[in-house]
Symmetry: C2
DNA sequence: GTCTATACCAGGATAGAC
DNA sequence: GTCTATCCTGGTATAGAC
């Protein structure tokens, strides 16, 4: 395997395990049997290493958002968006990068990769919250997304990946359905006022 | 005001604004017109500064947990615990420290203050999730707590503090009530099996 | 008891040799 | 494509001034 890929793998592992800031490039280099300066041949900076393995997740999110915006809105779409969100981002052992995100939320606020990911998540949240712009539906949407993420670190370790997935979506769907209920009530009130 | 207190104030502000790791002690010292070494007279280390202003919040949490464990369980207690959680931790402009927590989740995993706070939050979560130990109720409890925290950064800025508080608790109560519902259903099933 | 001066070592980054 | 040497900044430690 080429050095560039090996750097990405080792960095992702250490950044996730010990945190981005607490991982020195010397550690990464030593684990690969090279010097710090060698890393700087392959990547412009420490941050660039992060960008390189996050890029892919951003593209997946963009694809999801583009698809969601092309569909007719409704309860079914909300559920479908969140299901796809969970499967695309965390499915098939792809969650290594997502675990990195969970473990490094703070730093990511100052990293371009983090800001881009944040932006995508906000757009998904807005899709789920619907057009009524109520604060409570925004909270419900945020919690639904958080349920999916939390399924990887909130639950007890003996629970299987499949169960985590199913439980997270079950609770999240309750929140999404409640959003739709509140929307419907709001429209009834509007109609009554006319 | 004495230097020790001023160090705490400036450090809390900078640690929250720019992050714990990205804030150097030189910055803190300069802002106070002293040298780095002066800080080391008042605090053993950078981490000690954090401990000093988090201590207080830990005591508040301990008090809340002790009280909750002395009360008869039920739906009402859950709501009361979460209400008190929100008021004790975030009330009366006390949320500066909580904002520090939100902004520094990663580092706090390696800091004693963070581990202690984490431990308290887990215990509150267990109280809210109830005795049935189901994964879905654990998720609901975690989300209810997260709703309170998120109320300070998820919602749009034009929403008042009072509204944030109310909306967060409203959504959180729906989750808590659902926990109780699921518990009741579980007991019915148990009874049917006997 | 409160602080300054100074030094040490580790971490990110760069220039230039091979 | 990789290394040595070097720079600057950051956390930490200590000696000593007032």
């Amino acid at each position: 395997m080429d050095t560039r890929t090996r750097i990405q793998e080792v960095a992702l592992e250490l950044f996730t395990e010990h945190g981005y800031e607490k991982t020195s490039l010397r550690e990464v280099a030593e684990r690969l049997g090279v010097t710090k300066a060698a890393l700087y041949y392959h990547f412009k900076s420490k941050e660039e290493i992060v960008n390189s393995f996050v890029e892919d997740r951003i593209l997946v999110m963009d694809e999801l958002i583009r698809w969601a915006e092309s569909q007719p809105p409704g309860v079914e779409l909300r559920r479908a968006v969140l299901t796809r969100y969970a499967d695309d981002l965390f499915g098939r052992n792809r969650f290594a990068v997502m675990r990195f995100f969970e473990q490094n939320q703070t730093v990511l606020k100052n990293l371009s990769a983090g800001l881009q990911m944040r932006d995508r998540m906000l757009r998904v949240a807005r899709l789920l919250a619907g057009p009524d712009q109520s604060a409570e539906n925004e909270v419900r949407a945020a919690l639904a997304i958080f349920a999916v993420h939390s399924s990887f670190f909130t639950m007890r370790p003996e629970i299987t990946a499949q169960d985590r997935h199913d439980v997270a979506l079950k609770v999240a769907f309750e929140l999404l359905d409640r959003i739709a209920e509140v929307e419907a009530e709001g429209e009834k009130v509007d109609a009554g006022h006319r």
